[in-house]
């Protein structure tokens, strides 16, 4: 088990010296150019004259040249070092690429980061949204379960976001490939926020990179930049939804509350007395004495609970109004209320119609136990009136459940609306914007 040798005494005569940063002179304009990743860089782009030099060529031949244009200043200056994801990286290259979609051009910046041990990373910025990316070591494969054009990679499903032809319009610094002016590649983005997969297709090859959303503040902190990062506009392509991490809990809470409300309702329903304490038919003929009557006393038992008063009449094309009072025989406390029934029916244009109802019912709230009687004083436009009065004690109320359901749903509905709206804003920028008619195929979590 001792095949692991000890650290060698350093006596390696053939070892070439490790390369370090050096300076070149631009063959185009004579400006000094730094080479920060010698041995890796194949092209060096001069910011002053737009020339791109072959970094491997001792004569530094110009291999491409970009139109001299208003200098685009990288937000992170070349040569800046920062700790990114725990590792030191140096900004060695900067390029601006643009796509044209329906006549509109959109430009974004890409920063090339280098570490001699870790290799290269990309930091891209579009409208204040940053993504850190690196070359993917595998090839994503088609995954129809994620919708049209979706792919899966490292166990996650990435949905197709956008395809566009990107043109490089500005380069500065050095790159590990041969930069060509006006180089066009077809870029396709697939997202599984906060991660994003991008493929770039040139006539020769297709390369994949995997990236992740980074906050601008994080970038500023990592590179110790002064000022503040550019403000964000809209929703970033890979920006994690602030709602997504809460969606599962939200749904779970909603279902739990719903179940609890249902069980509460069921339990109280089972516990309720739901007992008829009084039922009697009355006949009232207009003109024969006072219409007001009182019932025999009846007993309301148990804790405070509701009382249901039901009146069934026989009115047709007539109305009846009842002035009622539930009176506690012992204390003289009363609950006054009025109810009305009206029922109309007829035939018009060969169609029969009805309106209103012959019956009425009303709940009295939280009535204490005791011995009660009801006072009834009817009025009607009919000559006479027959009515049945029924009083029930402690009737289960399903209404409570529905009210609770409504209250419990307000916040989740608002939450799901916000969440959907966030995704709507993200996808608005894509090849697959959500259509007006709620074409949301977005998953809840």
């Amino acid at each position: 088990m001792t095949a692991t040798p000890q650290a060698p005494v350093d006596s390696r005569p053939r070892k070439p010296a490790a390369p370090s940063a050096k300076t070149l002179t631009c063959s185009g304009c004579g400006a000094p150019l730094a080479v920060r990743a010698p041995g890796h860089s194949l092209s060096v782009a001069c910011g002053s004259c737009g020339a791109v030099l072959d970094a491997k060529d001792p004569n530094l031949q110009i291999i491409a040249s970009f139109e001299k244009r208003t200098k685009l200043k990288p937000l992170i200056p070349l040569g800046t070092r920062g700790r990114f994801r725990g590792q030191p990286f140096e900004v060695i290259g900067f390029l601006v690429r643009q796509v044209t979609i329906e006549g509109e051009t959109f430009a974004w910046s890409e920063y090339l980061l280098f570490n001699p041990f870790q290799g290269f990373r990309w930091l891209t910025e579009y409208q204040g949204h940053w993504i850190s990316a690196k070359t993917a070591s595998g090839i994503p494969k088609a995954d129809p379960s994620g919708g049209e054009g979706a792919v899966s990679y490292l166990g996650a499903t990435f949905r197709h976001f956008q395809m566009a032809e990107a043109e490089t319009i500005y380069v500065l610094g050095e790159f590990p490939w041969r930069v060509q002016a006006g180089e066009r590649v077809v870029v396709e983005d697939y997202i599984s926020p906060p991660r994003i997969l991008s493929s770039e297709v040139t006539p020769e090859e297709r390369t994949w990179s995997i990236g992740e959303h980074v906050d601008g503040e994080q970038v500023w902190k990592a590179f110790k930049l002064s000022g503040s990062p550019p403000p964000r506009e809209g929703v970033g392509v890979a920006e994690p939804s602030p709602y997504a991490p809460q969606a599962r809990t939200m749904r779970w809470l909603f279902l739990a509350f719903l179940a609890a409300a249902f069980v509460l309702n069921l339990l109280f329903g089972l516990m309720a007395q739901n007992r008829v304490v009084y039922s009697k038919q009355f006949q009232y003929v207009r003109g024969q004495g006072s219409p007001a009557v009182v019932t025999e006393p009846f007993e309301l038992t148990g804790r405070r609970s509701n009382v249901l008063v039901e009146i069934a009449t026989t009115v047709t094309n007539q109305w009846a109004y009842f002035t009622l009072a539930l009176i506690d025989e012992a204390t003289g406390q009363a609950l006054d209320f009025g109810r009305e029934v009206a029922f109309y029916a007829g035939v018009e244009d060969g169609e029969s119609w009805t309106e209103g109802s012959r019956n009425d019912s009303v709940y009295l709230s939280s009535v204490p136990s005791g011995r009660y009687y009801l006072l009834i004083s009817p009025e009607t436009d009919a000559a006479g009136l027959g009515y049945t009065l029924r009083i029930r004690r402690d009737v289960p109320r399903t209404m409570h459940f529905f009210v609770a359901l409504g209250l419990l749903a307000i916040l989740p509905l608002w939450f799901w609306f916000r969440k959907a709206h966030f995704e709507y804003r993200r996808w608005r920028e894509s090849d697959h914007p959500w259509v007006e008619s709620g074409g949301s195929d977005e998953d809840d979590d």
Partner: protein, 212 residues
């Protein structure tokens, strides 16, 4: 498994190591003589070509870990292609296993030569996108390269012909698993492995870069 062995270079007399039992060659670090291991002694089969100065952070005798097992870098093959060079470092594990640590511009792979039951398509039949099954698992051809072997150093499990064209096919999956098919000999060699993060390798004894 025979223990590590040290011989005197027949050309210059310097001590040359054979740390792994499977090493067939060892290149003298002083005079670049390529020593072929035989039963009792070594045969000098000629000078190894100079390597191209590159920016690899690895070097011989560097140490690291892969899936918990310690390894030592005992040899390398340097390969040149249109965009630069890459290295295949021959690594020896504590238990005598050997493997390859591929390294190109900061991306790292660890692979092992693995015999497979499946028929390997000929070089001419390969194209990017082709699905190939190896050891029962699917791979997709991603990259075909005709590269030139620049040379080697340290010890190696086979003879390295300098300057000859190596035909290498990279096969990938939708995970970190990958495979390499190498068509230098009559029968293609199959290497199965995976991409590994630099940090996960816990490498020590690396080259130093000024300022880093």
């Amino acid at each position: 498994m025979s223990p590590a062995r040290e011989v005197a270079c027949p050309s210059c007399g310097a001590p040359v190591k054979f740390a792994s039992a499977v090493s067939l060659l060892s290149i003298c670090p002083y005079c670049s003589s390529t020593l072929l291991r035989r039963d009792l002694d070594v045969e000098n089969v000629g000078k190894m070509a100079e390597l191209v100065a590159d920016s690899s952070p690895l070097q011989l005798m560097a140490e690291g870990r892969y899936r918990g097992a310690y390894f030592t870098v005992v040899g390398r093959i340097q390969v040149e292609y249109s965009e630069g060079t890459w290295n295949e470092w021959f690594i020896l594990f504590g238990d005598g296993r050997t493997g390859w640590l591929g390294e190109a511009s900061g991306s790292y792979t660890v692979s092992f030569e693995t015999p497979v039951q499946e028929a390997i398509p000929p070089w001419e039949g390969l194209h990017p996108g082709l699905q190939v099954t190896l050891k029962g698992r699917p791979y997709e051809v991603s990259d075909l390269r005709e590269a030139k072997v620049v040379g080697g150093e340290g010890e190696l499990p086979f003879r390295v012909g300098c300057g000859y064209a190596a035909r290498v096919a990279d096969l990938r999956t939708d995970s970190e698993r990958f495979a390499t098919l190498e068509y230098s000999d009559e029968t293609p060699r199959v290497f199965l492995g995976e991409a590994v993060e630099f940090g996960a390798l816990q490498l020590r004894g690396l080259r130093r870069f000024e300022g880093w």
